[in-house]
């Protein structure tokens, strides 16, 4: 199917997407982690199944964005939409799929009463991702990640 005619759709993730998500993650990270994605999927599906989103082209899942609205994290009492994991199949990048996924997540966060979305990016190792988040409106925040070697 050519790029021009392929139908791109974003919809809430369901339990059948676990296999496709595992494959995309494997393509991106080189690691096959089915157990981890099963755990993550069921976590979202039982808490707020309309929050996690997948993008599909002609019925094939090519990207996903997982996140949810939580309150009380890190002293932030206001409902906050946390973007936790996002990935797009490297074979179909450059078609604004990540942007569409992010917009779908933001729309859901708004519906759940969140006025802000937040995420964390390691700017040293994930520069591309940081640039992507900037492109969809994220900016540096005063909430600083802290780390301690153990």
């Amino acid at each position: 199917m050519s790029e021009a005619t392929a139908e791109l759709k974003v919809r809430p993730m369901d339990e059948i997407d676990i296999g496709a998500i595992t494959r995309i993650d494997e393509k991106v990270t080189g690691r096959y982690r089915p157990d981890e994605w099963e755990q993550r999927a069921i976590y979202y599906l039982r808490r707020d199944p309309e929050a996690p989103q997948v993008a599909e082209i002609d019925g094939q899942v090519v990207g996903f964005a997982l996140g949810e609205v939580r309150s009380g994290e890190f002293g932030l009492e206001e409902p906050t939409g946390w973007v936790e994991v996002m990935a797009v199949d490297p074979d179909v990048r450059g078609r604004s799929i990540g942007k569409m996924l992010a917009e779908a997540l933001f729309a859901h966060f708004r519906e759940r009463g969140a006025k802000r979305a937040r995420t964390l990016v390691d700017t040293e190792t994930m520069g591309d991702l940081a640039a992507f988040f900037e492109s969809v409106g994220f900016e540096a925040a005063s909430l600083r990640p802290l780390v301690k070697n153990l």
């Binding site: 339990e15 059948i16 676990i18 999927a41 599906l45 309309e50």
Partner: protein, 451 residues
């Protein structure tokens, strides 16, 4: 989506709680262990949720674009009658599935699986409660002489064997049934709920969003344990081998297909604005979706058994093993899962009582066919009343004593008669009279399913 939360009047609320104490006796365990298995998630609450701000005009059918009905009395009699049947059937399935799950709940291999199922059962109870809310907040006297109170009593008195839809009358024999049921039968429920989300009757449509949210977890409760079981099977575990999963799929898949109703029917529901898809179209989508589940499970098995196999290789291997009958890495067709032929073990719809096997092979001898069904299902199904009744009807069809259509109407399903039995305070049931055509029309009309 904003939700309006309500509870039923006290006597009905208490009746559901009493039913819960009888058929869901482990409910208190769920409450006690909620924080352990579902940390930071809102506790379960027995109530009805109605979504606010949904589409207010009819979304399909002859009256598309007109305002949705708020009350049954705004509809013509035929429409209201059909709607009432749908609501009662939906309520029946919700309570029916709890009775089935309870049979084998305690046989779960893992506590986590058990608590997932327990939560699912509590949510099915809430779905039944939601349907009572729909029944009790309207006046159905224009189409029924049964009061709301009697309708509630009827549904709460039903036992496995007397529910409106076949799948809810089939006994569970092991915890594999609980899981495969969630994967296959709750999936039909998802379709029905999704279709009813556009119902021309606003209270029904508004009941669906929350039920669908909960249903998403119910489906995962089926698929995730199945994925773990096939992984363990690939490692050589003997607890839940692929052959048992396959046989349990063979047991439930035909019932799932039938829950959509006859493949040729469902047009009336579309015309009347109650559902956006005919039975055959919805069943087709269901088949494609379940095929995807099976392919994913096979991939999980193959990659666990042969760790160096990539996703693409696993996809190819699956095709070669299943379609070409090849043996790869010692894995044969019998080691992987397959959906049975759609005509296998059917008692409703176009293939009812046709003697077609799991691989599409046909049988001339009814004894050979019944043996094939038994060989294809878990051993414990052999002694069940559901199979016994099916076998009797299959023989009657084979001998020409009954037509397949009559047999469909008489297939394991009971019909309520004569109101409430004064001596036992229960509802009396008799088998449908196949020739009277007094069945609920499920054989040729629309299907319903639990959600």
């Amino acid at each position: 989506m904003e939700m309006e939360i309500t509870t039923l009047p006290k006597k009905y609320h208490s009746a559901v709680e009493r039913w819960r104490d009888l058929y869901l006796p482990d409910y208190h365990l769920l409450v006690e262990n909620w924080e352990k298995y579902f940390p930071k998630e809102p506790e379960f609450k027995l109530c009805a949720f109605r979504a606010l701000g949904m589409c207010s005009s009819i979304e399909c059918g002859d009256d598309e674009g007109k305002p949705k009905y708020q009350r049954a009395c705004e509809m013509d009699e035929n429409k209201a009658h059909r709607l009432l049947g749908a609501v009662r059937a939906q309520a029946s399935t919700e309570f029916g599935s709890i009775q089935q799950h309870q049979l084998t709940l305690s046989r779960a291999q893992s506590e986590e699986d058990q608590f997932w199922i327990l939560r699912m059962m509590a949510e099915e109870l809430r779905h039944g409660y939601q349907m009572f809310h729909v029944l009790l907040t309207d006046d159905w006297t224009s189409v029924s002489d049964t009061s709301g109170e009697q309708m509630v009593e009827e549904i709460l008195e039903m036992r496995t064997g007397s529910h409106v839809l076949g799948a809810f009358n089939v006994d569970f024999d092991s915890f594999v049934d609980n899981i495969v049921f969630c994967c296959l039968i709750d999936r039909v429920g998802k379709y029905q709920l999704s279709m009813q989300k556009v119902s021309a009757y606003a209270p029904m449509a508004e009941s669906m969003p929350r039920m669908l949210q909960e249903e998403a977890f119910h489906l995962a409760t089926g698929v995730v344990p199945l994925r773990r079981w096939v992984t363990e099977a690939a490692r050589g575990s003997r607890y839940t081998p692929m052959s048992l999963i396959q046989k349990t799929i063979n047991k439930w898949f035909p019932r799932g297909l039938e829950m959509f109703g006859d493949e040729r029917g469902g047009g009336a529901n579309v015309r009347l604005g109650f559902k956006p898809m005919k039975n055959g179209e919805a069943q087709e989508q269901y088949h494609a979706e379940v095929s995807r589940v099976v392919r994913d499970l096979n991939e999980r098995f193959l990659r666990e058994r042969v760790p160096e196999m990539t996703a693409t290789q696993a996809e190819r291997a699956q095709r070669e093993i299943i379609e070409d009958g090849s043996t790869l890495h010692g894995i044969t067709r019998d080691d992987l899962l397959k959906l049975p032929d759609r005509r296998f073990y059917r008692r409703r719809g176009v293939s009812a009582f046709g003697m077609v096997g799991v691989d599409g092979q046909t049988f001339d001898s009814v004894d050979d066919y019944l043996d094939h069904i038994l060989d294809s299902m878990p051993e414990t199904s052999r002694a069940g009343r559901d199979f016994k009744r099916h076998a009797e009807l299959q023989r009657q069809v084979a001998s020409g004593e009954l037509t397949a259509e009559d047999a469909s109407r008489a297939a394991p399903q009971l019909q309520r008669v004569g109101g409430v039995c004064p001596c036992s305070k229960s509802v009396r049931w008799v088998l449908d009279d196949a020739k009277s055509g007094s069945g609920n029309g499920n054989g040729n009309g629309s299907g319903h399913a639990n959600g």
